[in-house]
Amino acid sequence: MKLSAHYNRANIIITVLVLAAGGLIYFFIISQLGRNQLDRDLSEELEEVIDYVNINGKLPHQVDFDEDITEFVKVNTQRIETRFFDTVYTEKKEKQPKTGRAISGLIKVNGDRYKVTITESSESTEYLVQVITIITLVLMLILLVVVFITNRFILNGLWKPFYDTLNKLKAFNLSDQEHFELTKDKVDEFDQLNTAVHAMSLRVKSDYHHLKQFTENASHEMMTPLALITSKLDTLIQDETLKYDQLQQINDIYNATGKLSRLNQSLLLLVKIENNLINGTELVELQALIDQKARQFHELSLNKRLSIRVNPRKKEVLASKYLMDILFNNLFSNAIRHNNQDGLIVITLTDESLVFSNSASAGPLNTDVLFERFSKGQQSDGMGLGLTIVKNICSLYNWQIDYQYHDKAHAFIIKFDTAT
């Protein structure tokens, strides 16, 4: 529910209650005033009747007091309190009973006692009530219409800067170069909001920039010593007096350095993928890429005399060519490394998915930690980052990756996002 709707609901409920209460109070006061007026009229008439009787010594005729109905009833009681009361009466000409206000009292005419009752119509008061009710209802209606119009044309306009800011926030991307645009607004609150968001975006961008620089600097700081070690080794092995044992040791250092450098590269790559620092997506034709990779890895698979079977199909994905290269390098490397002698690699590409399966003897892998960093199989001499990278590349593009094991074969299934 929108803020304006919340506000309107409260507004309408309170206004309607106040209006109704006001109407009620108004009604009671007006009707009280009306009754008092009627009572005053009736007392005056009663006095007129008494004056008439005192002067003329007889009861007046009905006609003399039009609109009002005066009745005289002979009574024997000594005293009757003068009192006012509400009553219902019927005029002679009309059949409909009417509500009225009456006064009754005692008069003496030539020694006879009469109870006199004067009744006056109270219709005007009722009419007043109707008018008040109608005015109250009309006011409520006008209020609703006004609220609706305010909502529609004024409030929406007022809130527009807020929605603009909201949309900009939604579209905000850390890796974008452009900054959050600061717009000046008439409303102080929105102005403050914009300023706060602007300040926040600048802060976040600068933090992000620092992180990016840190990763790059970390790479630099580690790669240079590694380059130094490698070049020292390259120079060292030129020495012809070195013996086989010493060369073996150097070879081990080479391997460790190579591993360290690949580890560093992989970690930096992971940071880049996780922070979405890889730019440049294009349509990548997977079939061609798989064919190319299969050719590249063919030689490496010869050692185990593996056969690579590709069930290809034209399939294009929107992705970074660089990451796709890495994805297939890792999948192929894994499929070759964890294979049997004379084993098989089967790659099946369809519109929806890519299945990479290879024969194995070791049994199913532990799916809980399979894609975790630095988790690796018992026979694996890798770094345990390959599948993490594969998984991160997949999640970057909203692809789903699953692992299955059946018929003594590992299978990695990548389901492409249907949107791409």
Binding site: D234, I237, S261
Partner: protein
Amino acid sequence: MKLLVVEDERGLRENITSYFNEDGTVCESCGSLAKAIDKLHNYDYDCVLLDIGLPDGEGFGVLEYLRNNQKNEAVLIISAKNSLDDKLKGLNIGADDYLTKPFHLAELKARVLAIYRRKAFNSNSKLIFNEITIHLPGRHVEVNQHPIVLTRKEYDMLLYFIANKEKVIAKNAIAEHLWGDEMDMHDNFDFIYTHIKNLRKKLLDFTDNDYLKSIYGIGYKFTER
């Protein structure tokens, strides 16, 4: 060939210089952007090896200096940053190649010679090593005027060995040159042996000189001796 090495890590600079100096290449070096521009102002070089992360600024400044002064030095960037953006930036403002640290000296030398040949001979050249003649544009090889057919890997390997003749090259370096470091094959370099064996056999078909020596335990050496 005259070479300028711009690298702030002293040890690395010395190793590169001594590796290149041995076969008659004149190799000078410096460790900062200002000194590099000073040297380039006073002398001409064939090739500049340029580190991007220098203490007094980014190495891109050297590229800009060369471009603004219409100097014709070939530039090979050696950067610790394996960043696509940097690579594209460097190549866009006039670098000829980009090599990421850590690298093998053999790889560096092969790359430098390749861009040197491209610049110096307009890529219309033959590379002659005794009885072996390599026609670079057509990528075909003759031994004693007999054409021999090499696979792509064998051809790359032959060029690599000739660029680093008289040097011991580690198996790791050969593997990285042929397959790139993405192909993470974990210290198992047996497959190189097959390629070396085939290359040696093809060369020996038309010559008696066995240039390819195996240095037991570490790698290979292409040598006349």
